[in-house]
């Protein structure tokens, strides 16, 4: 049920297609329906709501310590998101015969472990390299209700996991001089990818990203998470040559740089 409900609720394309052709819908609603649909999308709210008060995180240095601090902030975000979701009861114990609850309990455990691991890696909470947890607002100023509306929770979970995969990848070069830290970051990176794959399947998608598509039911402005994923040239090799662009792009995940991830994370930091 969740996918259909979610599509009806959030996707601008569906909002318009529901009453007929796209053109008819435009005629019927004019731009109003489209604007309303776009406005009710978390990643599109950066210029709205409480951002004037936001204590935004800033770009971390391109150093091993900076990479760990950056990773810790992302793990804080994921950890709090899943902990709040489990506390709220938004994940129906009956969903998929209990599968969803098992999945998110496991993911929550991992994110909590990652927070502890990274704090220890930075030298503990008294270390000058330690960074404190920001204050998160997963409702983005009240526009969203991920802890009462399960489809919204699922969509944000997919966005966070796919962002996490791209974010760690983008930090790899900053860790190349510290082999042990690089290895640990890679070991977290692949866990995030396992999570992303499973969350996507819970939402009825493939576990991998085709082209730069955010996937059915994802709010249009989550596109920031998927922009640039459609690359089909890797080190001069055309990955689309054998089986087409979708398969070629699926076979490689692309990085996000620090600024791109900070921009996404700051939407949820107040």
């Amino acid at each position: 049920m969740n996918i259909l409900k979610f599509i009806e609720t959030f996707t601008d394309d569906s909002l318009m297609a529901r009453t007929g052709s796209r053109r008819d819908s435009f005629n019927q609603f004019g731009n109003m329906g489209r604007n309303l649909a776009l406005a009710s999308i978390p990643f599109g709210l950066s210029a709205m709501a409480n951002k004037a008060l936001a204590k935004d995180i800033t770009v971390t240095p391109a150093t091993p310590i900076g990479a760990l601090q950056f990773a810790l902030t992302l793990e804080y975000l994921e950890n709090e998101f899943y902990a709040m979701a489990l506390d709220s009861g938004v994940i129906p114990a009956s969903e998929n015969g209990g599968r969803d609850l098992k999945v998110f309990q496991q993911i929550a455990d991992h994110e909590a472990d990652h927070v502890k691991f990274l704090i220890a890696g930075l030298g503990g909470t008294m270390s000058p390299n330690f960074v404190a947890k920001p204050t998160f607002d997963f409702t983005v100023g009240g526009a969203f209700d991920p802890f009462h509306d399960y489809p919204t929770f699922l969509a944000l979970a997919q966005a966070f996991e796919d962002t996490g995969v791209r974010a760690y990848k983008g930090q790899a070069a900053n860790l190349i001089s510290t082999p042990d830290l690089l290895t640990a970051a890679l070991q977290i990176h692949s866990v995030e990818a396992r999570h992303a794959s499973e969350v996507r399947r819970l939402r009825g998608l493939k576990g991998w990203i085709s082209n730069a598509e955010r996937g059915a039911g994802m709010p249009a402005a989550t596109q920031a998470v998927y922009d640039g994923e459609g690359v089909t040239m890797q080190a001069g090799y055309n990955t689309a040559s054998l089986f087409g662009a979708a398969a070629g792009s699926e076979a490689y995940d692309e990085p996000l740089n620090t600024q791109q991830v900070v921009d996404i994370a700051n939407l949820f930091i107040v």
Binding site: N96, G97, G98, R99, K102, V103, Q105, Q106, I107, D109, H110, E111, A112, D113, H114, K116, F117, V165, Y168, K169, A172, A173, I176, P179, D180, L182, T183, A184, L186, Q187, I188, H189, S190, V191, E192, A193, R194, H195, A196, S197, E198, R201, K206, G207, W208, Q234, A235, G236, Y237, T239, L242, F243, A247, G248, E250, A251, Y252, D253, E254, P255
Partner: protein
């Protein structure tokens, strides 16, 4: 440390078979092949970063440094690509697997063949003398594995994907070039997405997609292994002899 993958046809005793199965995690594979030798040598004097891949003492060696790591990855991707090619071409593929399983396995076939051909192209373009330094196409043997058995195919796929993740995670620190490191990173997360998907097909109503057998329950870290730990696993299927004497 020297790593040598030697595959010999033997009549596996119970003990050797058990150790092979334990090592590989391939509980359903009973290939008539065992790993005959992975010789360790404490003489690390030859652990240089500039040994190019190529024939050494009559056997192809993967070499060291970035070319060694890329050649190692090429060998693993050859195995994965060959395996899924056999899976999707098996006579009963359409009846063995349901729609969702066929979709997943066909996607994995595409992705792994793309990875294999990518490494071949990248190495051919980058190696100083690819005619002597490019790893040849390897030969494979899956023993008695039944490609028309859902359980056997999925169990082997799970082992291959988890092994791939551990291999890339362990090889990252051996890469000197940031560009090559990023390329490995682009691939390893897709291998992890695969592993998760296969694990979900095997046991959907569970936390196996990132199970406690593979993700450390106190650190939340996935597995990372050196080539010397990976090659004996992959070597169980690879019949072409090669060495990895210059990789840890």
């Amino acid at each position: 440390m020297k790593n040598e993958v030697k595959i010999q046809e033997v009549n596996p005793s119970l003990d050797s078979r058990r150790s092979f199965l334990k090592l590989s995690g391939l509980t359903l594979v009973s290939a008539g092949l065992v790993l005959a030798g992975c010789s360790n040598n404490d003489d690390d004097n030859n652990m240089q970063d500039n040994t190019l891949p190529g024939i050494k003492n009559g056997v192809f060696d993967l070499g060291s440094g970035d070319f060694g790591v890329l050649t190692y990855a090429y060998a693993l991707e050859q195995l994965e690509a060959d395996f899924y090619t056999k899976v999707v071409n098996a006579s009963n593929f359409n009846s063995t697997f349901n729609d969702i399983e066929r979709q997943v396995l066909t996607d994995l076939y595409h992705h792994e063949v793309i990875h294999r051909d990518f490494f071949k192209a990248a190495l051919t373009g980058a190696l100083p003398d690819p005619s002597s330094q490019l790893l040849p196409s390897l030969a494979f043997n899956y023993g008695s594995m039944n490609f028309n058995s859902r359980n056997e195919v999925l169990a082997t796929a799970k082992a291959l994907e988890d092994t791939g993740v551990a291999a890339y995670n362990g090889a990252g620190k051996l890469i000197k070039s940031a560009d090559y490191l990023l390329l490995a990173g682009k691939i390893v997360s897709v291998e992890a997405r695969h592993a998760s998907a296969i694990r979900s097909l095997i046991n959907p109503n569970s936390k196996d997609f990132a199970g406690d057998d593979i993700v450390n329950t106190s650190t939340g870290l996935d597995v990372a292994k050196d080539p010397s730990k990976i090659l004996p696993i992959a070597g169980g299927f690879i019949t072409t002899k090669f060495t990895a004497n210059y990789l840890p």
